[in-house]
Point group: C2
Chain length 707, copies 2
């Protein structure tokens, strides 16, 4: 796998104009009753003014809902971009065949009774896909609630959420794997006044999946923000390509991926496998591509709303100006929690503010105090001085319930205009209670407004993360030659293979006789560790297969014989390759580095600190291979025990450069060896002090069974 393999099909990805922006729509199974599933799309399109051609298909009626109907698709003269198929499952195959014959470009399949009901349904679904693929027809569904394109006024859905009102148009798209959940999200978004471009439920995803829709939105000029609800995907490369298209287009993607608690259920798996639960791999993918993973619907909608301001702070320095000291402290608490810095206001500015109001707190959070309400020019000056400081990437202004006092509102909007003029590109978030009309005016000027001060801080943190992701260059993983394997390497071979691939490994020697052991020990110099080398013996210490700190020819010889004897008597049938000798471990921080294969995303690199942290807190982090050194650094920075690498209890800072290099290099090897290697487990990888590098002391490489 080359570094950019996941982008291989990206050029064709998301070319779904016929689905989302059709010029003409046929409805197969169109009903005269607008309350029926087959009647709703036509009703919505008529009611909300879809401007393209509409062809109801119904063999039993000349007109459906007062529109000229056709007995079959073939009877339609013009071209058909999109067919909505609303017939019972037994009739779907015929409908899809008719679409293919007619040259329809895309079809939405409402009908259920396919993959979701079992193997027979899956076979039926595969058949539909085969027919569609042959003619170039794209399928949404089956078993899906369809889509609506808001500006295009296309209601290709039977969701009753469209019955009452047409969604407000905007630049946020919602793509959901679940129609019921997606509708719930849509209504919550609508009730908040969030404007939408597209809404789509992908159902069984026979063909078009969440990734296709995200890619479409990434290319679509009317969509700036992409929200998605997903439970998983089958094609990891496609999802990554879609996310990368969005990132490169500077469009924030917010995904609510459920299933994180399943990790616990996978505990039956082996130790590392349990840690590498698939949900954590999605988490890694989202981090790699700058996706914001939302924890709740409100979280998702809050972030989408904040993105609407179109300003992404390029740093993490926040200033908060408040008329209530309490709100300032609350925001400082929250900033610390979400990783924003609140650097102190520069001294000259503090002096100036203190002169304006002697009992104000000008440090940051900046508390103007309620005096701001008595003399609003003071509030303006406090905000101005804060905006003048170059050190703040984002500013939050907390105004409590000022917004409820109509007489102040003219002054308020004037202040906003002046702030925008003075700092056109700065992210400025308001936290206040305000009437809807004034809130909308503030939003139009690019100020998001949150009643809750904590939400304002969370929004700044989310936007800063997007800015960071958007600024990264196109993903380039390190390149490496693959590791070729004939058979399962023993520990000695595994260490040699890693060393050959550029991963630091201890200078281990394999001795098959006592004489060889003595010679190896002499060559290594100093006391050595000796351990049995056998792929068949897992718990070496338990059977007396390990000796530490052995020195001197006699002791080495005795240890060799002892270890071999112990191994033979404990495991008479084990294939024994000899005894490994290596220098006693260098001092440093013990870490664990591994490679696992994820069924969706392929080789995944895991990193964690050794010892109890990984055992008890599952303090490990993942990235899909390959990735570069910068990504490796972000990965390292994610672990809870990160401080240990800076040196605690008098220990020197660890060689983080070498660690990042190693992770990136291993990721390249893992990606290049995707066909030959199933897993790599380096435990421990001992990281020395800065400049000393790191060494794999023990390693297991498992070849790919099918490889």
């Amino acid at each position: 796998m080359s570094n950019q393999d996941f982008m291989a099909g990206a050029d064709a990805l998301g070319r779904l104009d016929a689905l989302f922006r059709p010029q003409s729509v046929a409805i197969v199974g169109a009903s005269s009753d607008p309350r029926k599933i087959g009647g709703r799309p036509l009703d919505y399109m008529l009611r909300h003014g879809y401007p393209g051609e509409v062809y109801p298909i119904n063999p039993k009626a000349d007109r459906v809902q007062d529109v000229r109907a056709y007995p079959e698709l073939g009877a339609v003269d013009g071209e058909i971009d999109l067919a909505i198929i609303a017939v019972p499952s037994p009739a779907v195959e015929q409908a899809v065949t008719a679409c293919a014959d007619k040259g329809v470009k895309a079809a939405v399949l409402f009908s259920s009774g396919f993959a979701e009901v079992g193997d027979d349904g899956q076979q039926q679904q595969d058949k539909l896909l085969g027919i569609a693929r042959e003619s170039g027809l794209r399928l949404l569904g089956p078993n899906c609630l369809g889509l609506f394109s808001i500006k295009e006024r296309l209601g290709a859905s039977f969701s009753t959420s469209l019955a009452t009102m047409w969604p407000p148009a905007g630049d946020t798209a919602i793509v959901a794997q679940s129609g019921a959940f997606g509708s719930h999200v849509y209504v919550m978004a609508r009730d908040r006044g969030l404007g939408l471009s597209y809404w789509c439920a992908t159902g069984n995803e026979a063909d078009v999946d969440v990734a296709d829709c995200i890619a479409f939105c990434a290319r679509d000029p009317s969509t700036r923000i992409i929200l998605s609800y997903m439970e998983g995907c089958k094609d990891g490369d496609k999802l990554r390509a879609a996310l990368e298209l969005a990132r490169q287009a500077g469009k924030p993607v917010v995904i609510m991926k459920v299933g994180s608690s399943d990790v616990g259920a996978e505990a039956a798996q082996s130790h590392t496998a349990a840690l590498a639960g698939a949900d954590r791999v999605y988490d890694a993918v989202f981090r790699q591509h700058g996706v914001y993973r939302a924890e709740s619907i409100n979280d998702m909608l809050d972030v989408a709303y904040a993105c609407g301001a179109g300003r992404f702070p390029t740093g993490r320095n926040l200033a908060a100006v408040t008329i209530s000291g309490g709100a300032g402290v609350l925001m400082a608490d929250r900033a610390a929690k979400v990783g924003l810095d609140m650097p102190e206001m520069p001294a000259p500015a503090q002096r100036e503010l203190k002169e304006l109001i002697s009992f104000s707190s000008p440090r940051n959070p900046v508390d103007v105090t309620a005096q701001a309400l008595n003399d609003r020019s003071l509030l303006r000056r406090f905000v101005d001085v804060t905006l003048e400081q170059d050190c703040y990437d984002a500013v939050i202004v907390f105004l409590a319930m000022v917004g409820l006092f109509r007489p102040m509102m003219d002054e308020f909007h004037q202040m906003l205009d002046e702030m925008r003029r003075d700092a056109p590109d700065r992210l400025i978030v308001l936290s206040m209670i305000v009437e809807e009309e004034d809130r909308k005016r503030a939003e139009e000027k690019g100020f998001p407004v949150f009643e809750e001060p904590s939400n304002a801080v969370d929004a700044v943190a989310a936007l800063a993360r997007f800015a960071d992701a958007f600024a990264r260059p196109a993903m380039v993983g390190a390149e490496a030659a693959p590791i070729e394997l004939d058979t399962r390497p023993n520990e000695y071979q595994a260490l040699r293979l890693l060393a050959g691939a550029g991963v630091g490994a201890v200078d281990a020697r394999l001795a098959t006789t006592a004489d060889e052991a003595v010679a190896a020990a002499a060559d290594l110099g100093g006391p050595v560790a000796m351990k049995i080398c056998s792929a068949d013996i897992l718990h070496k210490s338990d059977i007396g297969g390990v000796r530490l700190g052995v020195s001197g020819a006699d002791d080495v010889r005795a240890a060799f014989n002892q270890i071999m004897g112990a191994a033979r008597s404990a495991s008479p049938n084990a294939l024994i390759d000899g005894v490994i000798l290596q220098p006693m471990a260098a001092r440093g921080v013990e870490t664990i580095i591994g490679v696992q294969r994820d069924p969706v995303f392929g080789p995944v690199v895991m990193f964690g600190l050794g010892g109890v942290l990984v055992e008890v807190l599952e303090d490990v982090t993942f990235r899909v291979a390959p990735f570069d050194v910068a990504e490796a650094r972000r990965m390292i920075d994610e672990i809870k025990g990160r401080k240990i690498l800076d040196g605690v209890r008098g220990a020197p800072p660890a060689d983080i450069d070498a660690l990042a290099e190693t992770l990136s290099r291993l990721s390249a090897v893992a990606a290049a060896s995707a066909d030959t290697i199933d897993s790599i487990d380096i435990n421990p990888f001992v990281l020395g002090a800065e400049g000393e590098g790191g060494l794999a002391l023990d390693a297991v490489i498992l070849p790919r069974l099918s490889g």
Copy 2:
């Protein structure tokens, strides 16, 4: 300090009827202009119909806002329960004196210019307090926004939030230290339709503080839920007594305490002191008294809203019934995160449900699927079967946006009635989008409704925590005799003192001569650890003051001389008490146990696992002393590394019983010795396997400097 000392003044606490429920109110500085600070309270009381006597005090007018006015308090004939003082700070002393002379029972001081402006103001404030104390007058403020009593229609506040509408009456009280922030919370609560009993801002807290107000609410029959915003308090015992009154009355208390990020700023303190940052002690107090600590205003209001249902689940087993599989997975994720269990539906019930809908998921989360909407009797049956299971303490029903379809609403309310009839006391939370009218009807039947499924799960978790706290007996800490100290004990003495107080300590011996050392080692048997005993030498190892695994008379003698020599040459001026000998450490889990004095709450016990966890993750937990064994167990269960005590990597489970006993006993000693001991630091306390107990291997006790 005896165990219940913090409850000593509880009988008198919160007797604030004259403040919150006055029969008569005087307004000193009453203004004819209802927009002015001195005019607003009268305006509010007139407009909203305060039924008691109102006496505007104004020397320049016969009538104020059309009410008969009096030139001074003394001119009023009747009794005055409450005086609102709205005069500039220089006139406040005279007004308070007049209140005292007149026998007024309580006063609200709006005026600013006291403690908040500096030392002079503090002196002025102290003077007011002195006058008030002498006559039994209670003071709210100064520098406060006052209070409003909703049912009593008393607007003793100049908050403009009352200008537009009177708050809806209800059973939730809001007590805030900050008027601006408290008003913000109030408006957010009002906009959600949360009914209030009282709202109060305490300002400078010269007399009445947040604790007094919480205690009042705990006794007040019309208040069932208490919300508070606080930045800190001066009287820890009073706060604890108030919280305990509320807990014993079964009233949930939700506190938003800000200032958690200050912990970082205190890093300049010594190691343990930094860990024992005061905010974490508040956290401990809240846990001890069953307070829910809210992270945001929305969090606080969500929990208050859920409490309104008046049903607190007595266990942590949750069932979720949904019409969308996605919502079920989301809720399962969330449940795992907030510590709720979702046990599997019993097999017979699963079979029954599977028979009803073959493609449903009956395990739990129970997914009825969208089929529930086509045949609502199926939904009812799924809910019924779930409610019939004894294993679920709470049930969430997710109905997406069903609530928007008026035709379904009759059926919906009928279903709610039947659910309530079948499970009158069960906590059942709905997650759905619904019109306000239908939501209110559901709420009246005791069903909280959340649009966001995650919020529904969070609410269940919060309510279960309250139930757990309400069920605990009145707090009784362990009792112990105080440790008497003349001077600072050396390490040997510290270990002996702890052993004498019932805390397991290693069998240490102090030798002042080599002969004594040899005899002690022989008596102990086996290899010993030897270390210099001197209060003046902190880093014993660094100066060669420690030897491990010494055995045999000659080696012990040599080690003794070596250690004494090293110490004398490294620290010629140190007072050296001799050499401590103790058996080599028993195997077990290293923990850290400490006692620190908190300036607000007195002696606080800290517990954490030793090693890197405490260093890097600050994985420690606190409780205010004294506390019982059950509280110690809750404390132990809080640490992130808790699993280690169950035994990892083949280690046996640690003796948690002994650990809990030790913490409780030490807490009793700490409480009893509050006058003599400043801090205790046991590091490490090595905890053996179950039944083996634990041993302090090293201890430092610092006497109280003033003691």
